[in-house]
Amino acid sequence: MQQNSIYIEAMEMVCSAGLNKEEIFSSLLEGKTGIKQHSDFLSDGTRCAIGRIDSEQTFNELLIQSIQTLLDNATLNNFHHTFLAVGTSVGGMAWAENRFIEDKGSLQKIELKKQSIHAIAHTLKQAFNFKDAITFSTACTSSSNALVFAKELLDAGAYEHVLVVGADEISLTTVNGFNALGVLSSEGAKPFDSKRTGMNVSEGIGAILLSHQKNHRTSDIQLLGTGCSSDAHNITNPHPDGVGAKMAMQEALNNAKIDASQIDYINAHGTGTMANDTAEGKAVQALFEHKPYLGSTKSITGHTLGACGVIELIITAMAMQQEVVPANFNLTEQELNELNLPNKNLSHKINYALCNAFAFGGNNTAIVLKRVTHEN
């Protein structure tokens, strides 16, 4: 298998914290959260804190617009020779819910191409004519698994360019579902805080174009390594000691051929639920003795479910390019004192970073990024 370097050639994102990557990153640095209280999502009418994209445009319009913006900033003229790897946990669920309610509980008018997990890829293939596409759906690790596959495709030399898209629209199913599990917060999430109250379901779109091509900017971001594991423990709860999370991170380090001590910053999955943050924190403590900076950006963006892998990889890449470690917004009293959780933005050169994503069924992924300056 070939092992040429893989770079982020272009990227774009949209979520409740902003309508493009620059806006979202500014929101992160300014502590401007996209999470708001809504009373029209839970069946019983109670309020919950969720992240909706603040736009007049439909989710599909935003999806196509984001990919067009990315294409405009790439070296490509079109995607006719590009592979599309999509990650989504719900696909066209929100569309299907609307049809079901409009048709008074009938499934007759549900169209598979618009309702299914494949709906995102279907929309993008129609708009941009990709050479081929595969959709990954592993709940909250969906787009991370798409990234893992993209690296494997490029490593194998099967494609010159792979576009990875993570996209999940907010739906009644996910908001009410996480509420039924007792993990939905009525306020902004406080990842890693001892008094955290749960997660904020949010919507988002993230897109990353990967290729072997350097950008010739001040610094390039290289996708260096990936790791995947399964907890083999419980269908919803992570292993309490983060055993699976640790395995995925170790595998990503091995794949990147670097030592744990080289990691400067970890963008945590950090959902704000009691179970996730304790398990992830313990895994980080066990693996990284040098206490790298650790942060969750979900208090600003919310948990964008299947899209979070790509969105948080973009955030991490921007933090590396701009040499800043984003603060852990909403964190006042950390649960695990050994973790290095900055509560204000820090100017810091990040040469190696790690991005975690974990999901239902104990599905774990970790991805290592490297900052390449043109001096080296």
Binding site: L107, H122, A139, A158
Partner: protein, 214 residues
């Protein structure tokens, strides 16, 4: 790019309503876990046992996912009744292979793809690339939609409402003797067709090797 996969074993199961004799009591001795399993999970666990799965990495495919849990949730929201946490936790596409990994204590990579009628082709392509690491892989595609409102959804008029196909594979440099020719199997979900075609051809081929084109 073409990658050849050696088919080490394969198995197919289907039924007009529900697959019988999935050996749940033997394969899932713990009653609590057995009771939580979805139909697709039971089929996945059965197929894994039939192909001699021994904690390999898994690439799973499903076009429709957990149809029963999905519809139960949407009806519960529409009718403003209490939503079942079990229905929600069982509603994601990787539910069957998550249960399989828990049951078999498999801590390796498990991934799930979903591309409507190309789902099993996506399983094969994903498997072909991942097989370059030179370990054995379990490839599997399952769709189970024997549910109350099936007549409203079954626009293709499929007669087999539950079906699944699985194979253990590994990469090989040897010449292929099986090629995907997009055969159709009218009674079975199109989401399984490409893997089903390979399974049938492998049954009649000595040392079966399939060529996967990416």
């Amino acid at each position: 790019m073409k990658i050849n996969l050696k088919i080490l074993s394969s198995h197919f199961v289907s039924a007009t309503d529900k697959c019988e004799n999935l050996e749940e009591k033997t394969l899932v001795p713990k009653m609590m876990l057995r009771r939580r399993l979805t139909r697709a999970s039971k089929i996945a666990i059965f197929l894994a046992s039939k192909v001699g799965y021994k904690n390999e990495r898994i690439i799973f495919g499903s076009a429709y996912g957990e149809a029963k849990a999905t519809i139960d949730i949407i009806e519960s929201i529409y009718n403003k009744t209490l939503l079942s946490p079990t229905a929600f936790q069982n509603s994601v596409h990787n539910t069957p292979v998550s249960y399989l990994s828990i049951l078999s204590e498999n801590t390796k990579e498990v991934t799930t793809v979903s591309d409507l009628f190309d789902t099993s082709l996506s399983v094969l392509k994903t498997g072909a690339i991942k097989a370059l690491k030179k370990d054995k892989l379990l490839l599997m595609s399952v769709d189970a939609f024997s549910i109350d409102k099936v007549e409203e959804l079954n626009k293709c008029k499929l007669t087999e409402l539950e079906s699944g196909v699985a194979m253990l594979v590994e990469v090989t440099q040897d010449k292929a003797n099986i090629f995907v020719e997009n055969e159709t199997f009218a009674e079975t979900s199109p989401s399984l067709w490409q893997m089903l075609e390979i399974h049938h051809k492998a049954q009649n081929t000595q040392n079966p090797i399939v060529e996967i084109e990416l």
